[in-house]
Symmetry: C2
Subunit: 169 residues, 2 copies
């Protein structure tokens, strides 16, 4: 029962990294790629969100929907879901709020009455035009931590990591 080689270490005295048993040893979260990605992504997204969250009462999902609609006019909800890699239910709800707030106009497709035809409203564009530059600034600040060389590698690496990844729906 108790034959587990538990790493008994005082947590305050830096991490007795229990190397030795290769597969069995506990993960080192701080070096575990999926974990690091998660932390970094949350930190970054949270930073950007704090720019507009309270100011416009806009959630991250709502902003993402607005961002795609700014780029591609007349998409259906399904298209939006595809382009944002968000769940269709999440998109539906974000759209309900955006339409109610008058930030997005929703029409019905002529040839297919199931589809909606989505478009930023004038008010939506105003908000978009305030947020987009802030988002860009955040990205720039992030990239400024890297050399040009590193930025190029990062892009290449993200491409490779992403390729063949399953697309959510």
């Amino acid at each position: 029962m108790g034959n587990h080689g538990k790493p008994r270490c005082d947590p305050k005295v830096t991490a007795t990294s229990t190397q030795g048993a290769r597969e069995r040893a506990p993960l080192q979260l701080e070096n575990f790629l999926p974990y690091r990605l998660s932390i970094l992504s949350n930190t970054v997204s949270q930073g950007i969100a704090s720019d507009y969250q309270q100011r416009f009462a806009l959630s991250v999902t709502e902003w993402r929907v607005m961002a795609v609609l700014a780029r591609f006019d007349g998409l259906s909800a399904r298209d939006v879901a595809e382009r944002t890699a968000m769940d269709k239910v999440a998109v539906s709800r974000a759209l309900a709020r955006l339409v109610a707030a008058g930030r997005v106009d929703r029409a019905i497709h002529d040839d297919d009455k199931r589809r909606s035809v989505l478009r930023l409203s004038a008010g939506g564009w105003l908000i978009h035009d305030e947020i987009a530059p802030m988002a860009r600034l955040r990205e720039r600040a992030l990239l400024h931590k890297l050399t040009l060389h590193e930025r190029a590698w990062l892009k290449r690496i993200l491409d490779k990591l992403q390729d063949g990844a399953p697309v959510r729906r």
Copy 2:
């Protein structure tokens, strides 16, 4: 009112990238670093979670708590929150479930009765020892998409992006 240079483009006909107006133009989400990080992170975490989610009825937060406890024995809830970069409330709730399920043993600190002293139970270790290798495999599969050179760059880049980042609490 309508003097917005909206990019009218058929979404099916690949992305008329509205370059020109530098700051004003809509974001290209697909090249926007924060967005890419978010997608990648979600995809990866989701993949790992699918390995244990239903099988052990374990949430991502719970697994993370178990992972730190595997590595550092006798932490307090606060320590766990710090090491997982999770909210203390989230940790408290995850612990409540883990203790109830008999996966974590909770004692009270001798010198400070506020603190808990946390430790994986024997059953917790069994589960950990099943999940950890799977998680490692997932990470390995991810890293195998990269050359050794790229892996080194990625590590370096993540370090730089993360440095100076605010620590959640």
